[in-house]
C-alpha cells in the first residue's frame, strides 16, 4: 500500500526549558483518519510536544509541516485556525463562564455582531447531549466537578471537528489525557465519538496512561522516553509488555505482583467514625466507619458524591449535620486544620486549584502540610527537612529530582507525586486519596498502589477514590458505593465481589 501523505509531520523537534531539555530531536507523524497514541512515562515530554505543536511553547529547533506545507504556529489561536483542535492535559476552561459559553467562546453564533444567546444555548445543549452528558449548560462551569469540566473541554474541541458543529475545518484533534478523570461510560462515549471523527478523516492524537484504552482505540503509537523518540509502531504489532519496556526502558513486573497481592486481613479497631455526616446540596447524611489499617474504597459514577464525601470527612466543606470521631475523640469540623490535627490527610483530585502552589519549589510544596501543622513558629530544621524531601523524591521517583524546581513546571504526573509526598510526610492516621492515580503513568501507578498496600500494612487507614473500579477493587477491604450523592451500600471485599457486582449495586441503588 502506498503510504498516504501525513497531515502533520514534526521533525527534529527540540524544546529546552531552563535546565531541562524536554524534547531532543523528536520526529512525529500523524495521518488522516487515524487515532495515534503518544506514549511515555510522566515527564517524557508528551504534553510538551503537544504544546509546541499548538504554539503554546516556542520551538527551539525542528520543523512542523501541516498538509505538506511548512508552518510556524505562534499561538493556540493560530493552531486552531490551522485546523488543530486541542484538549490540554489540565482542564483549561473559564470557570466563571457558563458551560455553553465555554463550549462556544471565540466562535459564538452571531448576527450582525450580536451574539445569539438562544441559539448558542440550544446548540450547546445539543452537543452536550450527543456526548451523553446530562447537565445544565447555563450554569457556571465552576459548579461542576472536574470530570464534567473535562467532558466540556472535549465537547468544545470536538465541536470544531464535528460535522454538525460550527467550524468544521478540524484536521487534527489533540487529546492530552482526556480520560484521566472519566469513568467507563464517558470513556466509551468519547471513543464512539473519536471513531466517528476518525472515519470522517480527522487525525486524532491521543494521550493516555491507560494501556487498555490505547489498545482499544488506537491504530498506531509513538513512544517517547526522556524527551527522545524511542519508537513508532502499529498498535497491533506491539503488545503491552513490549510497550511498557519501550516506555520505561526495562521490563515491568510490578503489575503482576499487585494482582497477586493479598489484602491484609487483620484490620484493627475503629479509627474514624462518621455519624449522620451530611450537607444539604452536597451529600445526604451518611455513616462511615474506617478501621485502623483498613483501605476503604469509594465507588460510584461521575458526580455521585465521592469527592463531596471525602471533603466532608476532612472538613474542607462544613457539614450541616452529624459528627466525626477519630480514635474515639470527636473532631470539630470547622476547618481542615481540625481534621489534620486529628491525623486526617486529604489529597485533592484537583491538584491544580486545590493542591499545589505552583510558584513554590518542590521542596516547599512537599513540606507545606507538615509545616502548617507545626505552626509558623516552629520551622522544620533545614537538615531534617532536606532529608525528608530527598527521601520522598526518591521514594516516589519525582522527576526532575531537584527539590529546587518550581512545581508549576513539573509534568502533570510528577505534580501528583509531589502532592502525595506532601501528605505522606505528615504520617497521617487516615489518608484520603481522591483520584491519586489521575494522570500517572503505568509504572508510577503501580508504585502508588503498592504504596497504599504497604501503608495499610503499616497500620495507616486509607480512603481510596478512583475512577477505575478495578483499582478500587484491588486495594480495598471495604467498598462504599455511592449513588446520587448518597452512600447506598457498603460491601466487604471478597472473592465474590467483582466490578460488575459493584456496577449492579450502583445501578440498583440497593441499601445494604
Amino acid at each position: 500500500m502506498a503510504e498516504p501523505r501525513p497531515v502533520l509531520e514534526m521533525t527534529g523537534i527540540v524544546k529546552e526549558f531552563p535546565g531541562v531539555r524536554a524534547l531532543s530531536g523528536v520526529d512525529f507523524r500523524l495521518f488522516p483518519g487515524e487515532i495515534h497514541a503518544l506514549m511515555g512515562e510522566n515527564g517524557a515530554g508528551k504534553s510538551t510536544l503537544i504544546k509546541v505543536l499548538t504554539g503554546v511553547h516556542s520551538l527551539d529547533g525542528g520543523t512542523i509541516t501541516l498538509d505538506g506545507e511548512s508552518v510556524r504556529i505562534g499561538s493556540p489561536l493560530e493552531a486552531q485556525q490551522a485546523g488543530i483542535s486541542t484538549v490540554y492535559q489540565e482542564v483549561n476552561l473559564c470557570p466563571n463562564l457558563s458551560v455553553a459559553e465555554n463550549i462556544f467562546i471565540g466562535r459564538e453564533p452571531t448576527r450582525a455582531g450580536r451574539i445569539q444567546w438562544k441559539q448558542l444555548r440550544k446548540d450547546a445543549a445539543d452537543m452536550v447531549d450527543r456526548l451523553g452528558l446530562d447537565i445544565d449548560v447555563t450554569a457556571p462551569l465552576s459548579s461542576y466537578p472536574l470530570a464534567v469540566q473535562q467532558l466540556v473541554a472535549i465537547v468544545r474541541s470536538v465541536g470544531h471537528g464535528d460535522s454538525d458543529g460550527q467550524g468544521s475545518g478540524t484536521k487534527v484533534l489533540v487529546l492530552d489525557e482526556p480520560t484521566s478523570s472519566l469513568d467507563r461510560d464517558e470513556v466509551l462515549e468519547l471513543f464512539r465519538l473519536m471513531r466517528r471523527l476518525r472515519d470522517e478523516g480527522v487525525a486524532i492524537l491521543f494521550v493516555s496512561h491507560f494501556l487498555d484504552q490505547i489498545y482499544e482505540i488506537c491504530d498506531r503509537m509513538t513512544v517517547l522516553r526522556n524527551g527522545t523518540l524511542v519508537g513508532e509502531h502499529m498498535v497491533r504489532d506491539l503488545d503491552q509488555v513490549g510497550l511498557i519496556e519501550l516506555m520505561i526502558g526495562k521490563a515491568l513486573d510490578q503489575l503482576e505482583e499487585l494482582h497477586e497481592h493479598q489484602l491484609r486481613s487483620d484490620v484493627g479497631e475503629t479509627l474514624v467514625e462518621a455519624e449522620g455526616l451530611g450537607r444539604t446540596g452536597g451529600i445526604a447524611p451518611f455513616d462511615l466507619e474506617i478501621k485502623k489499617g483498613e483501605v476503604v474504597g469509594l465507588a460510584g459514577l461521575l458526580g455521585s458524591g465521592r469527592t463531596e464525601l471525602a471533603r466532608l470527612l476532612f472538613g474542607a466543606d462544613q457539614p450541616d449535620s452529624g459528627k466525626v470521631t477519630v480514635g474515639g475523640k470527636q473532631v470539630s469540623m470547622s476547618a481542615p486544620n481540625d481534621a489534620i490535627g486529628a491525623g486526617v490527610a486529604f489529597c485533592s483530585e484537583n491538584r491544580k486549584t486545590e493542591g499545589l502552589v505552583p510558584d513554590l519549589t518542590v521542596r516547599e510544596n512537599i513540606i507545606l502540610a507538615l509545616q502548617a501543622s507545626r505552626g509558623w513558629t516552629r520551622p522544620i530544621p533545614a537538615g531534617q527537612r532536606d532529608e525528608l524531601v530527598a527521601k520522598y523524591i526518591k521514594a516516589l521517583d519525582i522527576r526532575p529530582a531537584n527539590p529546587e524546581a518550581r512545581v508549576g513546571q513539573l509534568s502533570g504526573g510528577n505534580q501528583q507525586k509531589v502532592l502525595l509526598a506532601r501528605w505522606l510526610i505528615t504520617q497521617p492516621k487516615l489518608l484520603i486519596l481522591d483520584e491519586p492515580t489521575r494522570g500517572i503513568d503505568i509504572g508510577a501507578k503501580a508504585e502508588i498502589q503498592k504504596l497504599v498496600v504497604s501503608l495499610s500494612e503499616d497500620g495507616m487507614s486509607v480512603l481510596y477514590i478512583a475512577a477505575e473500579l478495578e483499582e478500587v477493587l484491588r486495594l480495598s477491604h471495604t467498598i462504599g458505593v455511592l449513588r446520587d450523592r448518597k452512600l447506598v451500600a457498603r460491601l466487604t471485599n471478597g472473592p465474590e465481589i467483582t466490578t460488575s457486582k459493584i456496577l449492579e449495586t450502583i445501578a440498583s441503588g440497593e441499601h445494604q
Partner: protein
C-alpha cells in the same frame, strides 16, 4: 453494563439539581448587583426621611446624582472593562485631568474648534490606553505598575502643558455645559445623558459581542483563555484602549462640567472609579460582575457625598471620617447579605 449505568442520575435528582443550579446562578452572579441596588435605595430613602425639609425629596436632587457624577460613571465603565479582564487601571484620574488640560489648551491656546478637538482628545486617550495595554501584554509587566507609570506620566504632561489652569470661554462649550434636557420631573445635563449612553453601549458590548465575552473569559482564567485559542493580546490591549477612551471621554465630560482645564483636576479619581466598580459587585480578580453594578456603585458614592452635603454640619475631617464610615457600613452590609446566600 452500559445499560445499567445509563441511568446516571435519577430524574428527581436532576430537577432538584437544576433548580438548585438556578438559585446558585442567582446567588453567585447577580446577587451583588441586586444587593447594591437595594442598599442604594435604602440609603436614598433614609436621606429622604432625614433631609426632607431641605428639599432632598425633589426629583432634581436625584437627577443631580447623574449630573454630578456623569464623568465618574464613564470613567468607571472603562475601569469595569479593565477590572473584568483581571487587570487594573490607575491612570484614569490623570488621563481625565490630562484631557481637560489638553482640550482646554487646544481650544483656548491653539484656537482649534471644538469639533476638531473632541476626536483628537478621544484619540489621544485611546492611544494612551493602547500603549499601556501594549506594554502590559507584550512585555508582561503588571498592569498595576504600567498604569501607575501612566498616572505619573499623564499628570506630568498636564503640568508640562501648563502649570496654571486654563479657562475655556468657547461658546460651544458653555452652551453644551449649560444645556439641560427636561425629563418631566427634572432635567439632565448633556454629560449625564452621554454617560448613560456609554453605560448602555458597554452593557451591549460586554454581553452581546464576542469581544465582551472574551473580556470575561480572560478575567476568569487568562492561561485558559489563551489555550482556548482566544486572542489574548488583542483583547487585553483593546480593554486598556477602551479604558483610555472612556477616561478621555470622561475628561471631556469633566471639562464640560467645569469648563476649564486644570493640571490638578481629578486627582485620585481612579480610586473613586475602582471603588465604584467594586461596590457594584465586580470582583477585582476579574471575570465576575456586571456593568450595571458599576452604575449603582457610582450612584452610591455620589449619594454618600450628597448626604454629607445635606448634613451640612460636618467639619472637614468629619467629612472624611463620615465618608469612610458610610463606605464601610455599605460594604459590610453588602458583604453580609451576599455571604449569607452563598453558604
Amino acid at each position: 453494563m452500559s445499560a445499567t449505568t445509563k441511568t446516571r442520575t435519577a430524574p428527581e435528582g436532576r430537577t432538584a439539581s437544576q433548580a438548585s443550579a438556578i438559585t446558585r446562578l442567582l446567588g453567585d452572579r447577580r446577587l451583588p448587583v441586586l444587593v447594591t441596588a437595594a442598599l442604594f435605595l435604602a440609603m436614598y430613602l433614609t436621606g429622604l426621611g432625614r433631609y426632607q425639609n431641605y428639599g432632598f425629596a425633589e426629583p432634581q436632587v436625584f437627577l443631580n446624582l447623574f449630573i454630578d457624577n456623569g464623568y465618574l460613571l464613564v470613567a468607571a465603565v472603562g475601569a469595569t472593562f479593565v477590572i473584568m479582564s483581571g487587570g487594573i487601571d490607575l491612570s484614569v484620574g490623570s488621563l481625565i485631568g490630562f484631557t481637560t488640560m489638553f482640550t482646554a489648551w487646544l481650544v483656548e491656546r491653539q484656537g482649534l474648534p471644538l469639533i476638531v478637538v473632541v476626536p483628537i482628545a478621544l484619540g489621544v486617550g485611546a492611544f494612551g490606553g493602547f500603549l499601556m495595554g501594549y506594554v502590559i501584554h507584550n512585555f508582561e509587566i503588571q498592569p498595576f505598575i504600567v498604569t501607575l507609570a501612566g498616572l505619573f506620566l499623564f499628570r506630568g504632561l498636564c503640568l508640562v502643558i501648563s502649570k496654571e489652569s486654563i479657562s475655556i470661554s468657547d461658546s460651544t462649550v458653555s452652551t453644551l455645559a449649560q444645556t439641560r434636557v427636561p425629563l418631566g420631573l427634572g432635567e439632565l445635563s448633556i454629560g449625564a445623558l452621554v454617560a448613560l449612553a456609554v453605560l448602555a453601549a458597554a452593557f451591549y458590548v460586554l454581553h452581546y459581542t464576542r469581544f465582551g465575552r472574551r473580556v470575561y473569559a480572560i478575567g476568569g482564567n487568562e492561561q485558559s483563555a489563551l489555550l482556548m485559542g482566544l486572542p489574548l493580546g488583542g483583547t487585553k490591549i483593546a480593554v486598556y484602549t477602551v479604558s483610555g477612551f472612556c477616561s478621555a471621554l470622561a475628561g471631556l465630560l469633566f471639562m464640560l462640567y467645569i469648563q476649564s482645564g486644570d493640571p490638578l483636576h481629578a486627582v485620585g479619581m481612579e480610586l473613586d472609579a475602582i471603588a465604584a466598580v467594586v461596590i457594584g459587585g465586580t470582583l477585582l480578580t476579574g471575570g465576575s460582575g456586571y456593568v450595571i453594578g458599576t452604575l449603582f456603585g457610582v450612584l452610591v458614592l455620589g449619594l454618600i457625598k450628597s448626604i454629607i452635603q445635606f448634613e451640612g454640619t460636618l467639619s472637614s475631617w468629619w467629612t472624611k471620617i463620615a465618608t469612610g464610615v458610610l463606605l464601610c457600613a455599605f460594604i459590610l452590609i453588602q458583604r453580609a447579605m451576599t455571604a449569607r446566600k452563598q453558604t
